[in-house]
Amino acid sequence: MGEHCSDYINNLNDYLDGEISPELCREIEEHIGHCNNCRIMVDSLKQTVSLCREGKEESLPKVLEDKLNNLLREKWNKKFHK
């Protein structure tokens, strides 16, 4: 890996997800330590995922649950009890 920021970008996800060799991790952290833009890039990429995950899980609408149970039972009976 060279000195240029663009050399690091392909490894950023692995770095952020903790799936990178300790050696490469140290190299990236050393670079981030003296490159403000890469620090901002890493920080904002981290926040991108955490912000996306902030939204709550939606529950299956009750109306759909009821409709599904009836529909699935009907399909099941057609398949197994012809």
Binding site: I9, N13, H34, T48, C52, L64, F80
Partner: protein
């Protein structure tokens, strides 16, 4: 009763066993479809079609993946069919997310990336949520599905690759490009908002 036993019972015609299997996963399929399509109606259709397909194909399930992963693969196919027109668009190459704003080594240039610090101080929660939903909505399908499976469904990169029928390297590239594109979208909105509040 474990998953394998439930599958065996379902495959021999036990509807209650099938219901137990899908009950653990239908909420996740709904959320996957909702994130993919951005539409409650489409998400409901996808859940329904996925579970009906699962009944049709239950005999073909061989347990090579977890039952939930198998349901996801059916749901993704349903989603792709629904969103067929979205397939042709593409994102910038990875390097462009740096090069579009800078030359090779941006640390030595005068350009400075916008520092988000705390986005919650720039946008209200509901505005932030809407901006994220909009950013995800604009992702081309193949990047959107990779990102959602990796970070919402929290699958490993190998599981994402297997579900998408891609190599691990290709899945990694899709996830990274999606993440960079989302960051880019959010950054523009946050910077614009910061500018207005000065």
């Amino acid at each position: 009763m474990d998953e394998r036993q439930l599958v065996a019972k379902a495959q021999s015609g036990d509807f209650d066993a099938f219901l137990l299997l899908v009950n653990d996963h239908k909420g996740k399929v709904y959320n996957l479809a909702l994130k993919m399509t951005g539409s409650v109606q489409d998400a409901e259709d996808i859940v329904q079609d996925t579970l009906v397909k699962a009944i049709d194909k239950i005999d073909q399930f061989r347990g090579e993946s977890a039952f939930g992963t198998w349901l996801f693969s059916i749901a993704l196919n349903q989603t792709r069919a629904l969103m067929a027109t979205n397939k042709m668009t593409d994102l910038l190459p990875v390097e462009e997310y740096l090069l579009s704003v800078d030359t090779q080594n941006h640390s030595k240039e005068s350009f400075r990336l916008f520092d988000w610090k705390d986005p919650h101080k720039l946008l209200e929660q509901n505005e932030l949520r809407a901006t994220i939903d909009e950013a995800i909505e604009t992702l081309p399908l193949k990047y959107k599905e990779a990102f959602i499976l990796r970070y919402y469904e929290e699958l490993s990169i190998k599981e994402v690759a297997d579900l998408l029928g891609e190599s691990v390297a290709s899945a990694k590239s899709r996830v990274l490009r999606a993440r960079l594109a989302l960051r880019d979208h959010l950054s523009k909105v946050l910077e614009g908002h910061y500018g207005r509040t000065l």
